[in-house]
Amino acid sequence: TVGNKIFHFGPCRVSMSMTEIRSGFNTIKANIQARDPIRTLSILSYPHSLHKVKSSDRCCVSHQLFNFYVDKVFRHCRTEDPYINRKISSIANSFLSIRRNFQQCQEQKNCVCDQESLEKLKQVLENYEGLNVTAAAMKALGELDILLDWME
């Protein structure tokens, strides 16, 4: 189907239209990554890859990263290209919808981070805030497939 994936975090269930998000991202990935001059730095993977996150913390880390993209990243990704803006809007609205699902998990107390994961999230924010806001937003958007790959 449209590649709706159901993520189970304990009893909590989060439905995500992964294929819709990925196809939207793939159409703009090259353009977005070309706008990222600093290829040696990573926001999501420095110093540790997301794959080091414990499975018990996956819900919380995913939720916080969706918050990061919705609250901080997408709003600074406006470009001069209407088509790119349309695709970013699609992804942003999908993230907004998915984040709502995560909030339900959090209310059920199934989405809690331990200290190590909180450190990881803190590092992502530091990586992000260490750059000029537009450069940081474009870099983070260009790394969206890192998040999607890790989630899948």
Binding site: T1, G3, N4, V70, D71, F74, S89, A92
Partner: protein, 204 residues
């Protein structure tokens, strides 16, 4: 540019099976071709991007009074939509859809279904309704509704084998469409029955 043109009226959405179209009444201007431009605004734009609007290139300065917005309505959130008329250098104010549109309200029709008795094999072929769709197929021996069986079909791309039939018995099938992204199902199709060995099939 002055806004002498009247704004488009009767702006509405036609949404069926996750395909969404914005339509409006034509703006009439004597002796001139009127063209229209469409923009959308998702919940994200309203809450996080200063209520910005995003133009739909395919529906920019076009003569038609209908715009396929399916590609842009790609999240299950509330969208605003608006359309403006242009004639020469003149253009109208924006006409905005009354209320939001959320794809969760799309109308879902039961799938077309072809039931095939291939010797002892009960097969079903389903209408390809698009990538968002999967199907729930129910089948049973005629007269034994209480022993109904179910099969979930994730993609409509090929014929699906349901069961191996007992000779001479009638088997009945019905199906409904399901869209995970909005967590809704269509009503069931009409029931179609075939008989093992020499049963015939026809599209409903």
């Amino acid at each position: 540019e002055d806004a002498l043109l009247p704004a488009p009226q009767n702006i509405s959405i036609l949404s069926t099976n996750m395909k969404h179209f914005l339509t409006w009444s034509p703006v009439m201007v004597q002796g001139e071709t009127v063209r229209y431009s469409v923009e959308f605004q998702g919940e994200y734009e309203r809450e996080y991007a200063n209520e910005s609007w995003i133009p739909i290139c395919e529906c920019s300065l076009m003569a038609a009074t209908e715009c396929n917005i399916t590609e842009d309505i790609s999240a299950t959130v509330a969208y605003n939509l608006r359309v403006r008329a242009n004639a020469g250098t003149r253009r109208s104010e924006w006409g905005t859809l009354k209320g939001f549109f959320n794809r969760v309200t799309t109308s879902l029709t039961p799938p077309l279904m072809k039931v095939i008795a291939d010797g002892y094999h009960l097969l079903v072929e389903l209408e390809d309704m698009g990538p968002a769709f999967q199907f729930c197929v129910l089948y049973w021996k005629k007269g034994q509704e209480s022993r109904m069986q179910q099969k979930v079909v994730k993609e409509a791309s090929s014929v699906v084998h349901l069961d191996t039939m007992e000779a001479g018995l009638d088997y009945c099938v019905k199906a409904q469409a399901y869209v995970e992204a909005i967590n809704r199902s269509s009503s069931f199709s009409q029931t179609k029955c075939v008989r093992a060995q020499g049963g015939t099939s026809v599209w409903l």
